[in-house]
């Protein structure tokens, strides 16, 4: 073994033995620094003969390169070890509780209203609205409940204090006044443009009020109204539209049954029942041999069309109304209507919905 080899072995051993970056730096300086042992040998090249230099020069350069590599490698090892040692001291207890960042919840009524709007939106229904405080004309008279009509008694109407001129406003007992407002607006638009009445397809969800309170009735509740007016929609469309709605809403095949009924503002009038059965105390919507009434509907009464200035011999269509709260109770198994309006955080958390569950048909209505 010549001297160079011996030197290399010594330095390599020192590199390997360096236990931290400072020690390694000292080894480097000792070997490759200005006065380092390898540097001194390099300096000696000048005194050599050209022949000697031709051999020793490349050998020393190669040695320098190898040592630099060894140092770099050792440096990485030491750095990693140092990092590991530091991280070892930085351990946190990941089982400690996080800083809570809770999401809120969407009320079942809001959620079901969105679901209903999506389903009817798919059939081309726009969403219309009207005021909660209504006059007698929009809530009753225009809907073919003449003053003194016994059907008015069934509505348990809330009245506001009588005004000086004798008029008494009511809290709307159903969302049906929005039918009137929608048709009146459509007639006015047609008059302005001089064109035909544009076909109407709207739903009108909203708050409704009746002077009634028990386990299944609250003085305020929610309904959604529907109205279709054009020149060809008949009762078969009513059946198809509402049966399709029931299946889409309950996200399963649903048996439906249409029964004659009486509403002053439709003729013929029908109630729709859906099939259900009770299993283990649960209500299963869809099949089964029990029937449950879910909505009222019918072909818009000619008197209603006439009252808003639409010719019942040219235009026709259907209307329907159903309870949003009840739909929510049935679909999501919510037992008591009165809890809906109590703003009880425990109830809202339990029965509410994630705000990211924005109903749409592409992902599944409620998924």
């Amino acid at each position: 073994m010549d001297d160079t080899q011996k030197l290399e072995n010594e330095i390599a051993a020192a590199i390997g033995a360096a236990s931290d970056e400072a020690a390694l730096e000292a080894v480097r300086v000792d070997a490759l620094g200005k006065k380092g042992r390898v540097s001194l040998l390099m300096r000696g090249l000048g005194k050599m003969s050209p022949e000697e230099r031709q051999i020793a020069g490349p050998a020393l350069n190669a040695l320098k390169t190898r040592l630099n590599e060894l140092i770099a490698t050792r440096k990485d090892v030491l750095a990693e070890a140092a990092l590991n040692a530091r991280l070892e001291t930085e351990r946190l207890d990941m089982s400690l509780p996080a800083r809570a960042r809770t999401q809120g919840r969407i009320h079942p009524v809001s959620q079901v209203m969105d679901e209903v709007a999506v389903i009817f939106g798919d059939m081309g229904f726009a969403v219309a609205e009207g005021p909660d405080i209504e006059d007698d004309f929009h809530n009753f008279t225009a809907l073919n409940f003449p003053p003194g009509h016994p059907a008015r008694d069934q509505h348990d109407t809330f009245f506001l204090n009588e005004k000086e001129d004798g008029e008494q406003m009511v809290l709307r007992t159903h969302t049906s006044p929005v039918q009137i407002r929608t048709m009146v607006a459509a007639v006015e638009r047609a008059k302005k443009t001089g064109g035909d009445l544009e076909p109407i397809r709207i739903i009108a969800p909203g708050r409704t009020y009746r002077c009634d309170s028990d386990q299944t009735h609250t003085p305020m509740f929610h309904q959604v109204e529907g109205l279709v007016i054009d020149k060809e929609t008949h009762m078969g469309h009513l059946k198809g539209c509402l049966a399709d709605f029931a299946a889409t809403f309950f996200e399963t095949e649903v048996k439906t049954r249409f029964r004659p009924h009486h509403f002053p503002f439709t003729e013929p009038s029908a109630e729709m029942d859906i099939g259900y059965e009770r299993k283990d105390g649960q209500i299963l919507i869809g099949q089964g041999d029990q029937w449950m009434e879910i909505l009222g509907s019918g072909m818009v009464h000619p008197n209603v069309l006439t009252s808003v200035g639409i010719d019942p011999d040219v235009y026709q269509g259907f209307a329907f109304g159903m309870g949003i709260d009840r739909l929510a109770m049935l679909k999501y198994g919510i037992p008591d209507l009165r809890d809906f309006f109590a703003a009880d955080a425990r109830w809202l958390k339990h029965y509410g919905f994630s705000p990211l569950l924005q109903p749409n048909l592409a992902t599944g209505l409620s998924s």
């Binding site: 009524v109 798919d122 204090n161 009588e162 399709d244 029964r259 703003a343």
Partner: protein, 799 residues
């Protein structure tokens, strides 16, 4: 409306089962609400014969009987005085539930003698009131083990259904039978009542002084009646539907009210004086048949004689002139009373009666004289006597209506293809008449409406009759598709704002609540509402008697309710209406929220939310709803229900208020009994300006620079009262091109800052646009910022 199956079968010839009848009613629009079959309750009871009855060895009043039953011969101890050998009885075995005494029978020893079962009284079986002894079946034609319900005539199911207000004819069993016959369930039997000829002039003179209320009044006298109990079948029939038999004369009027939807009234002639008059009330007081005293008023129709008011016309008769077992001569009233006036009298008096229920819905105007004859026939049959001629004052409203009916209406409104014969069959089955089907000669029919169908007014009503009887289930079912082509937005911008605001806040931790639209008027006043025009005339309670001016009313109270239940850290919101006044445009949509920050202790330190968290929530919600948040001005002028020093308003221009937020006024919390502090906000989505999107949906080019932004800090000493926003705005405005953002990061008052002043420190982010800025350019910009801020705030750069 209740009726029994056997009653229906007096009018309808049918082999249909109970289930078929109930289903047919439902599908024809007679919504069945319940079927009660008394036989089901009595299924365990059977016919038996008492063979022996010996005196009980240890009790004088008891007998030990040997009874031949379906279970063999049983020993039964019985206390009834009529228990004796040879009678046919009703037997309840051990294990049977006896409804009248609410006992399930067990094997028993009565005074040391074994007793296996029971012989029942009528009351014990809930088959009548009789409890004097056990039931004795009449005659000897019985079978051991025979069905008790059948033996007692209690196997008559009772159907209860909802009569819709348009169909007063369904308030009579015959009307129900007619619809069922038309629906193919059997044949309507012929009417058994005919006309009655009297033998003398009616001695009672009838006058009408209130023709609007009582346009027609028919009556007659039957002389020499004997008013005992009515026949057994009639009593049974009335009991079955829950009516108490009283006497033949009264039972007859009740029967015809149910059978023909024709209320009548009977008067004891001995109590009448002078003529009978239908007139307006005059403030008189009388006792009605319900035993209560009523005052009459000038808008109520009364029946009176020369002496006194006898009753309310069409609503309820009076006690004084009622018939009793001593009645010898009876005056029968069959009048037509106006629906609206009857209804008003019913409302004013609170009287609910079968007569009122029928008159207010409208009785058949063509069945006045015929109704009188039917009643007379029954009186003569059950009570004997001699009838006078009928007399009638006034005339009932003439009902004559013909509907022009283009047959094409059926298809137009229902989509149903029906032949002329089918249509004609349905209409004639329901009592409509006219030249139909007229061999297809004419497809526009003239259809005459029967007098009892005042609800049928136009062609749509005829279509309903046809579709209803033909069956809604047989109508086509056609899906409704949206119109082809592009879909226009189906929700309004406001609806979209509400939905986004709701979901944004829920994402930030708020619970979406729905609370009452009404509240207590005192609460409304605290939130600047409670105006007279918003007060309910008939509230459900004084807690809910006024339309709310703010959704905060209930949310604030809910905060306390939740705290009382242990939910102390709470964020609630509601999107819903509030009411400024009672006009159609006085309703506003509000997005309101409350936060009670009471976080649980956390190992890393607890962070309570304050008014600036609420401000952030409001800005986030506004941004989600499309408001230009960066342009909103904050001011300290807020509504009176906010803490005057710890609340703010967000406006766009001086008038357009978008939101208020802050702490709820502690005084209001105290009045509502709510522990403070409580944070809250109210946002007005309608105040957000519509987005003025030009050039379609393109988002335009993005503003980005490759040059590194730089930051410079400045601090200014300003008046303590200066809103920080003034300073921030001034700094931002110093160079709108270069200054990308201004962040206020320090507020300081105290040592080193003069009293009445504060120091505000900002970090200005400068974004070079075309080239890196030189030191000189930065220096110039800094000077501009300082000048502008000092000028806008009156402050000075802090040295």
């Amino acid at each position: 409306m209740k009726f029994s199956l056997s009653w229906l079968k007096q009018h309808l010839d049918t082999d249909a089962s109970l289930t078929e009848i109930v289903d047919a009613m439902t599908m024809a629009g007679l919504e069945v609400e319940g079927v009660e079959n008394p036989a089901e309750k009595l299924a365990a009871f059977s016919v038996a014969k008492c063979l022996e009855a010996e005196k009980h060895p240890n009790a004088d009043r008891l007998r030990v009987c040997k009874v031949d039953t379906k279970d063999g011969i049983k020993q039964i101890v019985c206390g009834a005085p009529n228990a004796r050998a040879g009678i046919w009885v009703i037997y309840a075995p051990v294990g049977a539930y006896v409804p009248g005494i609410d006992v399930t029978l067990k094997k028993a020893k009565i005074r040391d003698v074994e007793s296996l079962g029971m012989m029942c009284s009528a009351r014990e079986m809930e088959a009548g009131d009789d409890h004097d002894g056990i039931i004795e079946l009449v005659g000897d034609d019985w079978e051991i083990g025979g069905d008790a319900a059948a033996a007692l005539g209690l196997n008559d199911p009772v159907i209860d259904f909802e009569v819709t207000p348009n169909r007063p004819d369904w308030l009579g069993v015959r009307g129900i039978a007619r619809d069922l016959a038309a629906a193919g369930l059997g044949t309507l039997k012929d009417d058994t009542f005919g006309t009655i000829k009297g033998s003398f002039d009616c001695p009672v003179e009838i006058e009408i002084d209130a023709p609007e209320a009582c346009p027609a009044f028919a009556g007659r006298v039957v002389r020499g009646v004997k008013n005992g109990p009515s026949p057994e079948w009639l009593q049974q029939q009335l009991i079955a539907i829950g009516l108490r038999p009283i006497s033949a004369l009264v039972d007859i009027t009740n029967f015809l009210s149910i059978d023909r939807a024709r209320p009548l009234h009977v008067y004891d002639m001995a109590k009448l004086s002078g003529s009978i008059c239908a007139r307006w009330g005059n403030g008189e007081n009388f006792e009605a048949l319900d035993g209560k005293d009523y005052d009459t008023t000038s808008d109520m129709c009364v029946i009176a004689d020369d002496e006194r008011v006898l009753g309310f016309g069409g609503v309820m008769g009076g006690t004084y002139s009622g018939c009793s077992e001593n009645t010898i001569d009876v005056f029968i009233e069959c009048a037509y009373f106006d629906p609206k006036i009857t209804r008003a009298t019913g409302r004013a008096t609170g009287i609910e009666s079968d007569a009122k229920y029928r008159f207010e819905r409208g009785v058949d105007p063509a069945y006045v004289e015929a109704g009188l004859d039917a009643a007379t026939q029954m009186v003569l049959d059950f009570c004997g006597g001699e009838a006078s001629h009928a007399t009638m004052t006034g005339t009932p409203p003439v009902f004559s209506r013909t509907i022009e009916f283009p047959l094409s209406e059926v298809k137009r409104l229902t989509g149903l293809d029906l032949g002329q014969d089918e249509i004609a069959n349905i209409l004639t089955g329901l009592g409509f008449s006219g030249d139909m089907p007229n061999n297809g000669n004419n497809d526009v029919w003239q259809v005459n409406v029967p007098s009892w169908r005042g609800d049928a007014v136009g062609k749509a009503d005829l279509v309903e009759e046809i579709a209803r009887i033909y069956g809604f289930d047989k109508l086509p079912q056609v899906s409704l598709r949206r119109a082809p082509g592009a879909v226009k937005p189906l929700a309004t911008p406001l609806q979209n704002r509400a939905r986004r605001g709701r979901r944004a806040l829920a994402g930030a931790g708020y619970l979406d609540a729905v609370t009452w639209s009404f509240c207590a008027r005192e609460d409304a006043a605290l939130f600047n509402g409670g105006g007279d025009e918003l007060v309910l005339a008939n509230p459900i309670s004084s807690e809910l008697d006024c339309m709310r001016p703010s959704a905060l009313v209930h949310l604030v109270r809910a905060a306390q309710r939740n705290a009382d239940r242990g939910v102390a850290d709470l964020a609630l919101m509601e999107i819903g209406p509030v009411y400024l006044s009672d006009g159609p445009n006085d309703q506003r949509l509000t997005l309101a929220g409350i936060v009670r920050s009471n976080p649980r202790r956390h190992w890393s330190g607890t962070c309570e939310r304050d008014v600036f968290d609420i401000k952030a929530d409001v800005q986030m919600a506004l941004e989600a709803m499309g408001a230009p948040v960066a342009n909103l001005q904050v001011s300290a002028e807020t509504s009176s229900y906010w803490h005057p020093g710890r609340s703010g308003a967000l406006r766009l221009g001086p008038k357009n208020l978008l939101a208020e937020f802050g702490e709820i006024h502690p005084g209001i919390l105290a009045k509502l009994g709510v522990d403070g502090p409580l944070l809250g906000f109210e946002v007005w989505p309608e105040a957000i300006p519509a987005s003025r999107a030009k050039g379609g949906r393109s988002k335009g080019a993005m503003d980005k620079s490759d040059l590194l932004p730089l930051a410079r800090d400045f601090a200014f000493v300003v008046d303590a009262a200066l809103p920080a926003e003034t300073l921030v705005r001034a700094a931002k405005g110093a160079d709108k091109a270069l200054i990308a953002d201004v962040n206020l990061f320090d507020v300081y008052a105290g040592k080193g800052v003069e009293d009445g002043k504060k120091s505000l420190a900002i970090e200005v982010i400068i974004q070079p646009r075309e080239a890196t800025l030189t030191d000189a350019q930065i220096e110039t910009l800094s000077k501009t910022i300082i000048t502008k801020v000092e000028k806008a705030t009156g402050g000075v750069l802090r040295g």
